[in-house]
Amino acid sequence: MKSMTEPAAANRSVAAQAKKRRKKEASTFWTVGPVTIWMIIFFLLPLLLVLGVSFFTRSVFGGIQPPLTLENYVRFFDPLYFKILWISCVLAFTTTVICLVIGYPFAGIIARAPAKYRNILLLLIIVPFWTNSLIRTYAWIVLLRTEGVINTVLLKLGLIDQPLELLYNETAVLIGLVYTMLPFMILPLYASIEKLDRSLLEAAADLGANSRQIFWRVTLPLTMPGIMAGSLLVFIPSLGLFFIPDLMGGSKTVLIGNLIKNQFLTARDWPFGSASSIILMALTLLFITIYIFITKDKQGKGLV
């Protein structure tokens, strides 16, 4: 009898284990599953769609048709488009630098403010997000245009004889980009400055460093993750923001974002627009890789 029950018991325990494993698998499915499905439907499939379209040929009526071709990618390497990409990068880089220069002291002041004001100050940084950025861009137009608020005031005060050309040039685009992107720089900077251990600054002073030396030798290197994260968060969207150059640059400045938008909406050349998007995305990935490489921030902790 005994020899009969033992294998039976072993079988039961194997069955129990299998049940347990199935249960565990089920719970894994319910935690990771929805996110995965969401990402597949709303991220991976569209991406594959774009990738697919980029290999087709434009049809006469703006649709897509075979044959499959690499022509769209080859076309992008035309000096004209390369120049657009170059100008976009320069403008995005300039935006990033200006945001950093303005944002760093800004974040520093908030991080060092008394605790009771700190949250209010942070809230004030976030409040503009509650208004659509398109509307905020129109507000800038009201300020900057020839009969706008700034010119009117300056004329009335007699400081200028004729209106300044504030709108529809690269400076205007830069103002718009810096204004829109600044919070994305301030928030990660704030996080890293706030985390900075005050006793390290005291230790530096104790060892004979004046405030300038403390900044360059301690504060700056220790807040580098925030600087990198903020720069990335400003640089990448700046490449793709099309409505600011459209509205504030008067369509005179064509950037990579506008190029893509125009291919889809105006030129109705979806394959080329898709190819441009893929190239921009590849470029973005390259920058993120460089970021990870420089900061060794493998989990992207500085970015969230």
Binding site: L200, A203, A204, D206, G208, A209, R217, L222
Partner: protein, 359 residues
Amino acid sequence: MSETMVELLNVMKRFDQHTVVNRLSLSIRKGEFITLLGPSGCGKTTTLRMIAGFDEPTSGDILLDGEPVQGRPPYERDVNTVFQSYALFPHLNAYDNVAFGLRVKKVPKAAIEERVRQALRLVQLEDYAKRKPDQLSGGQKQRIAIARALVNNPKVLLLDEPLGALDQKLRKQMQVELKHLQKQLGITFIFVTHDQEEALTMSDRIAVMNKGVLEQVGTPEEIYEQPATRFVAEFIGETNLLTGTVRLCDNRRLVVDCDGIQVAAVSRTQIPENEKVTIAIRPEKSKLSLDPSADAGVVQLSARLTERIYCGGMTKTIVSLPGGKQFVALEKTDQLLPVVEGDELFVSWNPEHGVVLTR
């Protein structure tokens, strides 16, 4: 060249309405190992920070090597600090941490190299120069922090509870090392701690602080044997306090009535009759016996055994005096009296060993 290295004159520090340090005057000698001892919140760290220059006194003066340092920022003071949390720069390795002070002072490269090596050798961490702080153990971090401060040849080294984060064994070892280092270098050390044992073993002198007030300054022996106040007697080591009224005072020989028990004591000063006093008796100065002592010169009280606490070689024996007051005595664990809880016995001590405290 004065013999005094640091002079605190009537130093006051207030934060808002709260007085953290109150009229502190203290003179610290050159090459001395002095400890500021007190419970947390007694103002000892604030005092240290005022010497370092992180906080400015509300009033009073601080002189460093004879010069007033009022208004001088930390980087213009010839003192260095070893912080409680070590405050090592996480982005720099051990070598660069130690070199930091020399680099910001623009010391020539070759000299930096030599002095840093020497400092690392001093703390026996030459082989760890390339390690980042997060690759060092607590004790190693501690030593790098000490090397980083000492490499600047400060006139005074300030240590803010530097051993607080270390485990007991490492702590003991570092105490000895620090003491040796101080003797070897001859630098004035101002050490802040709340650990009375640490203060007793390491210091040339101890300054006991309580609620921002300096209670007593003296050698470890003076502080332990002749506490000046009730606070000092209670804070340093274990002690029995008997409070009562002076009934008789004859040329510093007192008889004090403590809740009906008559206790003889010898005071250092004349104390008028009917004055409230406290007599402090260290457990190791008292003796337990089964029979009353024949010696009429000792203070002798009958008591009942309440509790025995085993402490290794010694056993802490708590007895209750006739008024119900608890009294702690010590017995050698291998020579315990043959009594059990509730049994009667006698506790006695030499009146010379009862320290009379008036505040």
